[in-house]
Symmetry: C2
Subunit: 110 residues, 2 copies
């Protein structure tokens, strides 16, 4: 699989999990420490760290450790990849529908 | 989980698989019969049908059977859902960055 495809795989896989989407949701409101992320999720710190690893690997979130506090924020790279992939498929389909419409209009004219 | 969230779950899960993305890719070029879809994928008809079921459940593809031929085409509902979800998170984050920029500019003015 080409590198880009591997990356898109990771992005969609990461977003396919409700807990990871809840993390993205929370992080999109602004930078937040890992410990503050954990509480409302009702799962263990270890589980959150695992989800964060998957989100970081797919370019949806990044984190920085300052002293003993690790802070997470949104990373736009993964979002752009997903938007690009979806948008390309959608516009290919819409062009196809337009062409079909043109063909039907031509037939009407004849 | 609310119904909308279940649906988004399905869309991202469906797109997280390279074979299913290859099917979406092919179908986005125009309607195609299931038998024509199978050949280039190099997997069994049964496997393709299973993938199609997942794509139909998530609103990314739909199919119609006329006589003995089942034809697949793109369904935009799933694409719109995914675009909406991604776009909302991204714009929330961008608004947050803008606000931060404004705050910094105000501090510079003082």
């Amino acid at each position: 699989m080409p590198a880009l495809d591997v990356q898109i795989d990771k992005v969609f896989h990461a977003l396919g999990d409700p807990t990871r989407r809840a993390i993205v949701e929370r992080v999109s409101h602004g930078p937040i420490s890992v410990s503050k992320l954990v509480e409302p999720l009702g799962i263990s710190l270890a589980a959150v760290v695992q989800h964060l690893q998957i989100l970081e690997d797919s370019g949806l979130v990044n984190s920085q450790k300052v002293g003993r506090v690790r802070t997470c924020q949104i990373e736009l790279r993964g979002f752009s990849l997903a938007e690009k992939w979806i948008g390309e498929r959608r516009s290919m389909w819409e062009r196809r529908l337009d062409k079909l419409g043109d063909l039907l209009a031509e037939e009407d004219d004849e």
